[in-house]
C-alpha cells in the first residue's frame, strides 16, 4: 500500500475545530445515522413520485397517446 494512505487521518488540518476524540474501527462502527438519512431520502423520492403522478397524468392531461394509456390518463 502506498505511503500516503498509511498516514491516515489528517489530524493537523488547520480548520479541524475539534480533534478526533476516539478511534472507531470497522467492527465498532455502526452507520445507523446513514441508514436513517437514506431512509428519509427514499421516502422523499416516493413522495415526489406520487406527486409526479398528479402533475403528469392529472394536471396536464395525457402526454402519451394510445388507447390504453389515454384511458389511464383520463381516469
Amino acid at each position: 500500500m502506498s505511503s500516503a494512505i498509511e498516514k491516515g487521518v489528517d489530524g493537523k488540518h488547520p480548520t479541524d475545530e475539534t480533534d478526533q476524540v476516539r478511534e472507531l474501527d470497522h467492527d465498532e462502527y455502526d452507520p445507523i445515522g446513514t441508514a436513517i438519512l437514506v431512509g428519509i431520502y427514499f421516502l422523499i423520492l416516493v413522495a415526489l413520485w406520487i406527486f409526479m403522478y398528479f402533475i403528469e397524468f392529472l394536471g396536464n392531461g395525457p402526454t402519451v397517446t394510445g388507447v390504453l394509456l389515454t384511458v389511464v390518463g383520463l381516469a
Binding site: 502506498s2 493537523k12 462502527y29 415526489l48 402533475i55 402526454t63
Partner: protein
C-alpha cells in the same frame, strides 16, 4: 516545527502544471459565470442590454466554457494530483505533461475566439451553435478544430496517467491499484470509448461540411454521435467530484472511507454503463425506434445504482468522521461535522444538492414522463443541480484544500470561503427550483425571450413573475459567489505568504480496504470489454437504421445506403435509369 509535506514539496514540477490547469479552469468559471448572469437577467426580462440574437452567442460561450473548459481543466489537474499522490511517483516526462496542457489550451483558445466572433465584428468567425452544436447549425471550422485539439489533449493526458501507472506496476507487480489511480483510469477508459463518437461526428461530418468539402450532413446521425459522447461527458465531469467525495470528504470529516471495494464497484459500473445510454437525450427524436430508446432507458436506470451506492458510502464515511469527533445519537452526530471548513461544507452541500438532482434525473430518464419536461426549463434546472452544483461547488470547495497544497500558501480568507460556498447553495436553491417548476408548465429552454403575445403560461402554483424573480435573484447570488471565490483564489496566490502549517498531502484511509474485495475488480481489460459489448448492443442497430433511412451524409447529396438487404425498389430504379 515538523517539515512541511504538502504536494508542492513532494512534486514541485507537477504542482506547476496542476496550478496552470486549475487557473485555466477558474478563468473559464469567471467568464462563463458572468455570461450566466447576463442570460438570467435577459430571459427573465429583468435587464436586457444585449440584442436577443446575441443571446445565443452568450449561451454558447456559457455552455462551452463551463461544461467543457471549467470542468475538464479542473479534472486534468485533479487526476494528475490523484495519480502522482497515490502512486507516490511523478509523471514520466514533465514535458509531455506540459504538452497536453498546451494542446488543451490552444483548443480552448480557438473555440473561444470563434464563439466570440458572434458578437465582435472584427473577428470574421461565428459559432453560435450552442454547446450541443447540432446540425444544421454550422460553426466556423476553427470551432471544430479547437474542440478536437482539446479532446485529443485529454486523451494524451490519460495516456500520461496510464504510463505512470504502468511504470508503477512494474515496480509493484503484486499490489492492488491505489484507489485514486483506479478512479482516474476507469474514468479515462469510458472517456476514450465515448469521445470516439464526437471525434467521428466532427472529423467525418461537421468539419468537412463546415469547410465545404461535403454539401450536407445527416442531422440525426451527427446528433446521435454527439449524444454518444454527450451523456458520458456528464460522468466525465462528475467522476472527479466523486473521487473528491470518496478520498477527501471522509478525511475532512475526521474519519475514513467506509468501503474501498464499494467505491471501486461504483467506478466499474460507470465504466460499463456511461456510454450505452446517450439515446435517452433523444427520446423525442423521430427516426429512432421506441425499442432502442427503451434499451437506453433500461441502461440509464441501472446507472442510478452507482450513485445511490455513493450516497450511502460517502454519508457513512462522514458519519464515521463525526462519531470519531465525538458525535452521538441517531442524527445529532451531524452537528459534530466540521461545518466551519469551506472545503468540507462546500462538498457536503454539493452532495446534498446532487441528491435532489437525482430525483429530477429519474424523471428525465423515464421514457414517457420525459415527454412532460423535454426541452423545457426543467432540464436546465436539473443540470444546474448536477454539473452546476454537485460538480462546480465540489470543485470550488476542494480548491480551498488544493490551492494551499499547490502553492504552499494559506487561504487568504477561510471565512469568506465559507460564505462563498453557502451563497452558492442558496443561490442555486432559488434558481434551480424555479427553473424546475417553470419547466413543468412548459416554459422552454434555449430561448432568449420566452414571452409570447396572445399567450401566457399558466403555473399551477405561484406566478411567472415570481419564478422569473427567483431565477434572476439566484443568478445574481451565484455570480457573486463566483467572484468571491475568484477573489479568494487570486489573493491567496499573489498575496498570501508561504506557510509551514499546510497539512500533509494525504487522502482518506479506509475502514475496509481493497484486500476485502476480489482482485477481479482491478481487471480493467475485462470491464472495458464489457463496456464495448454494451455499446455495440445499444448503438449498432440504431446507427445502422439512421444511416439507412437518412443516408450517411444526409439527403442533400447522393446518400450511401449500407443496407445489407438488396432493396427491390432500388434495383428497379437503377434498371429504369439505364433503360432508354
Amino acid at each position: 516545527m515538523a517539515m512541511r509535506n504538502a504536494y508542492i514539496d513532494q512534486f514541485p514540477e507537477e504542482a506547476r502544471v496542476i496550478r496552470a490547469a486549475l487557473w485555466s479552469s477558474f478563468l473559464a468559471l469567471m467568464i462563463g459565470g458572468t455570461l450566466g448572469l447576463i442570460q438570467g437577467l435577459h430571459r427573465t426580462n429583468v435587464l436586457r442590454f444585449i440584442p436577443s440574437q446575441d443571446y445565443y452567442t452568450v449561451l454558447t460561450a456559457h455552455g462551452v466554457l463551463l461544461v467543457i473548459t471549467f470542468t475538464i481543466f479542473f479534472l486534468v489537474g485533479i487526476f494528475t494530483w490523484a495519480v502522482t499522490t497515490s502512486l507516490d511517483r511523478g509523471v514520466k516526462d514533465i514535458r509531455f505533461t506540459w504538452g497536453w496542457y498546451a494542446m488543451m489550451s490552444l483548443g480552448t483558445l480557438l473555440v473561444g475566439v470563434s464563439i466570440l466572433g458572434g458578437v465582435v465584428d472584427q473577428i470574421p468567425m461565428n459559432a453560435d451553435v450552442l454547446y450541443t452544436f447540432y446540425s444544421p447549425f454550422q460553426a466556423h471550422p476553427a470551432f471544430y478544430v479547437g474542440f478536437v485539439l482539446f479532446v485529443v489533449g485529454t486523451w494524451l493526458a490519460g495516456f500520461d496517467w496510464f504510463r505512470t501507472w504502468w511504470a508503477w506496476k512494474k515496480d509493484n507487480p503484486d499490489e492492488r491499484i491505489p484507489l485514486p489511480t483506479f478512479m482516474a483510469l476507469t474514468t479515462m477508459l469510458f472517456w476514450y470509448l465515448s469521445s470516439i463518437g464526437v471525434a467521428i461526428s466532427i472529423l467525418a461530418f461537421l468539419l468537412p461540411w463546415s469547410l465545404g468539402i461535403i454539401d450536407s450532413v445527416n442531422p440525426l446521425l451527427t446528433r446521435t454521435l454527439f449524444w454518444f459522447f454527450g451523456h458520458p461527458v456528464v460522468y466525465f465531469w462528475l467522476m472527479p467530484a466523486y473521487m473528491l467525495w470518496y478520498t477527501m470528504l471522509p478525511k475532512l470529516s475526521g474519519g475514513k472511507l467506509f468501503s474501498d471495494p464499494l467505491a471501486r464497484v461504483v467506478f466499474v459500473l460507470f465504466l460499463i454503463l456511461s456510454t450505452p445510454v446517450g439515446i435517452h437525450h433523444q427520446y423525442l427524436d423521430p427516426g429512432i425506434a421506441e425499442g432502442f430508446k427503451f434499451i437506453a432507458m433500461t441502461n440509464t436506470m441501472f446507472l442510478l445504482l452507482p450513485s445511490l451506492l455513493t450516497a450511502f458510502t460517502v454519508v457513512a464515511s462522514m458519519e464515521h468522521g463525526a462519531r470519531q469527533r465525538g458525535g452521538e445519537g441517531y442524527l445529532s452526530w451531524l452537528k459534530a461535522l466540521p461545518w466551519r471548513d469551506p472545503a468540507f461544507t462546500g462538498m457536503a452541500l454539493a452532495g446534498l444538492m446532487f441528491a435532489a438532482g437525482g430525483f429530477s434525473g429519474m424523471i428525465n430518464a423515464g421514457l414517457s414522463i420525459n415527454y412532460l419536461v423535454h426541452n423545457s426549463w426543467w432540464v436546465v434546472g436539473h443540470f444546474h443541480l448536477t454539473v452546476g452544483t454537485a460538480v462546480a461547488l465540489t470543485f470550488m470547495a476542494a480548491s480551498y484544500w488544493f490551492i494551499p497544497q499547490l502553492t504552499g500558501k494559506e487561504i487568504w480568507n477561510r471565512s469568506l470561503g465559507l460564505v462563498q460556498v453557502v451563497l452558492w447553495f442558496i443561490g442555486m436553491t432559488f434558481m434551480s427550483n424555479a427553473m424546475h417548476r417553470a419547466g413543468l408548465f412548459g416554459i422552454p429552454r434555449r430561448t432568449a425571450e420566452p414571452q409570447y403575445e396572445g399567450f401566457s403560461f399558466d403555473p399551477a402554483v405561484g406566478t411567472v413573475a415570481e419564478i422569473d424573480a427567483q431565477v434572476a435573484l439566484g443568478a445574481a447570488l451565484l455570480t457573486l459567489s463566483v467572484y468571491l471565490f475568484i477573489t479568494n483564489m487570486v489573493l491567496t496566490t499573489i498575496g498570501g505568504s508561504t506557510s509551514d502549517a499546510i497539512p500533509d498531502n494525504t487522502y482518506a484511509g479506509t475502514l475496509s480496504g481493497p484486500e476485502d474485495s476480489p482482485a477481479i475488480i482491478d481487471n480493467l481489460k475485462l470491464w472495458t470489454s464489457i463496456a464495448v459489448v454494451l455499446v455495440i448492443i445499444a448503438y449498432s442497430l440504431p446507427l445502422a437504421s439512421i444511416i439507412d433511412a437518412g443516408g450517411l451524409f444526409g439527403p442533400g447529396i447522393d446518400p450511401w445506403k449500407p443496407s445489407v438487404v438488396v432493396d427491390p425498389s432500388l434495383v428497379l430504379e437503377s434498371v429504369r435509369g439505364v433503360m432508354p
